[in-house]
């Protein structure tokens, strides 16, 4: 027996020797199975992907995402400078608010997806682990000299996700329960400065917590000590985000696709769509007007056989797309996938076929998310 397809995670291992996360020892003590991902040794699972996935959906899961790049920006004219490199509206981003955005190349292709927050003394950005050094190089090249960028590599990043995350975290860090989805604020825990946002990558309510590295292990213990909380590995992180319809950079998003084709137009507010003024706007404007030729869609799959990344999608004899992420969805109880499909075949409900090991399986373009988001919004 041998793996014929490595998982999305395994293929991202870089050639360089793997680095240890600040919580490496903590993960091993919790019984994690470690794998290479984004240049780090990371926990793929503890008790099992299925159990961890379902636990997160019903209670609260603790994720270590310290491999991600945390960046801090300061300097004269920062808002305007950032608005030239990302399509987010920065000038109107209030202190204590966060937005989802993208780094685009000159052709409007996606270099990375990211979160950007306005803090009292800086702008704070979280980018993907596998792309962080490329992002830094790109930003250094395109930001003016007045802007200073720091990689906060002395900070760990933890996520607590699930319907009971708020109960668990509020016991450890009182006050976080007052945040709404995409709010963020500073807190103190045991004398350590935390930056907490109410957001995540599972579709559930939850939080992401930036914490100085030297306090991360004690903080993880404090969270894992709450009855609602279990540690969750990368495997369940992937199946949770897939069910939530959230794209994974390097798979569902690459420089080949733009924000409109990737169905991420919501990240570009009206004013910026119309006025432009950011790298990649030409393509965004064109695809807003004419439609994108290829679109990221959700796919529901008949039967039990999963379709994985790379599987080809057909309408009759014609190849019309490729699966970009796929697997078994524990909360759906069936295989699901995301793929890039030619616009003519991307309408919701379109019947398609996916070729897996020479066999065709029936699939249908499905609305995303596959599992409803349960974010804690002001209106909820």
């Amino acid at each position: 027996m041998s793996a014929s397809e490595t998982s999305a995670h395994d293929t991202e291992t870089e050639e360089l020797p793997l680095q240890a996360l600040p919580l490496d020892g903590w993960h091993r003590a919790q019984g994690a199975r470690m794998v290479g991902f984004a240049g780090y040794e990371m926990p793929i699972q503890y008790e099992g992907i299925m159990a961890e996935h379902l636990w997160t959906r019903e209670s609260a899961g603790l994720f270590d995402v310290s491999h991600m790049g945390q960046l801090s920006f300061t300097g004269e004219g920062l808002d305007a400078a950032l608005e030239e490199v990302i399509p987010a509206s920065i000038a109107t981003l209030a202190i204590g608010r966060q937005r989802y955005s993208l780094l685009l190349d000159e052709e409007g292709g996606i270099l990375d997806d990211l979160m950007v927050s306005c803090r009292p003394d800086d702008m704070y950005m979280v980018v993907n682990g596998a792309t962080k050094y490329d992002d830094i190089a790109w930003l250094l090249e395109h930001l003016p000299e007045d802007v200073t960028m720091n990689l906060m590599d002395e900070h760990a990043l933890l996520a607590l996700q699930g319907p009971k995350a708020v109960d668990a975290l509020a016991r450890v860090v009182p006050g976080v329960e007052k945040l709404f989805f995409m709010d963020c604020a500073a807190f103190i825990w045991n004398g350590h400065a935390l930056w907490v946002s109410r957001s995540g990558y599972t579709g559930e309510d939850g939080f992401e917590i930036s914490i100085p590295t030297d306090a991360a292990s004690d903080f993880a213990d404090a969270l894992a000590g709450q009855p609602e909380v279990k540690p969750i590995g990368l495997g369940a992180r992937d199946s949770l985000r897939l069910e939530a319809g959230l794209p994974l950079y390097g798979h569902d998003l690459t420089p080949e696709i733009g924000p409109i084709g990737a169905d991420l137009g919501f990240a570009i507010l009206k004013k910026r769509r119309e006025a432009g003024g950011y790298i990649g706007h030409t393509r965004v404007a064109k695809e807003l007007a004419e439609g994108a030729p290829v679109r990221r869609v959700g796919l529901s799959i008949e039967g039990r056989m999963p379709a994985r990344e790379g599987a080809e999608i057909f309408a009759g004899k014609t190849k019309v797309g490729t699966v970009t992420s796929g697997g078994f969805a524990p909360s759906v109880g069936a295989p699901i996938a995301m793929g890039w499909v030619d616009a003519a075949h991307a309408g919701e409900g379109t019947a398609l076929e996916i070729e897996v090991r020479g066999k065709r399986i029936a699939a249908r373009v499905a609305p995303m998310p596959f599992v409803p988001h349960r974010y804690y919004r002001k209106t909820s």
Partner: protein, 123 residues
């Protein structure tokens, strides 16, 4: 009845000229939650080392090789309904397929239980 093991983590039970093949408990533990098993067609013939089945966990698909040569005479239909049988009982109820052996001498190249245990210990 004798049980043999391959370096690719398949087990083989031999009774007369019929060999039952599955994956080992160690293998299912490595794979994690199994969500789908693709079995060969009855009547298919395999040479030793051929791709014979595919086992899908939440995270990835893995090939299962035929540890010996022969013709498929039966497959475990229960795995279609309940692929988690492989997690729960890999070395008994979670069997994959039965072969009519075409070359019993190939069994000599496989390990016995204690040799396999030692093999796994050194991984």
């Amino acid at each position: 009845m004798s049980r043999y093991f391959s370096e690719d983590h398949e087990w083989v039970d031999v009774e007369g000229e019929i060999a039952t093949v599955g994956i080992t408990d160690y293998a299912q533990g490595q794979l994690g939650d199994i969500v789908f098993v693709e079995l060969p067609a009855e009547g298919a013939t395999f040479s030793k080392g051929d791709d014979a089945a595919v086992v899908e966990s939440v995270k990835a698909a893995s090939d299962v090789y035929s540890p010996i040569s022969g013709e498929v005479v039966e497959v475990n239909g229960d795995l279609e309904e309940d692929p988690a049988l492989v997690n729960n009982d890999a070395e008994d109820e979670g069997w994959f397929f039965k072969l009519r052996l075409s070359d019993a001498s190939e069994l000599e190249g496989l390990m016995n239980e204690s040799a396999y245990a030692k093999f796994v210990e050194n991984l």
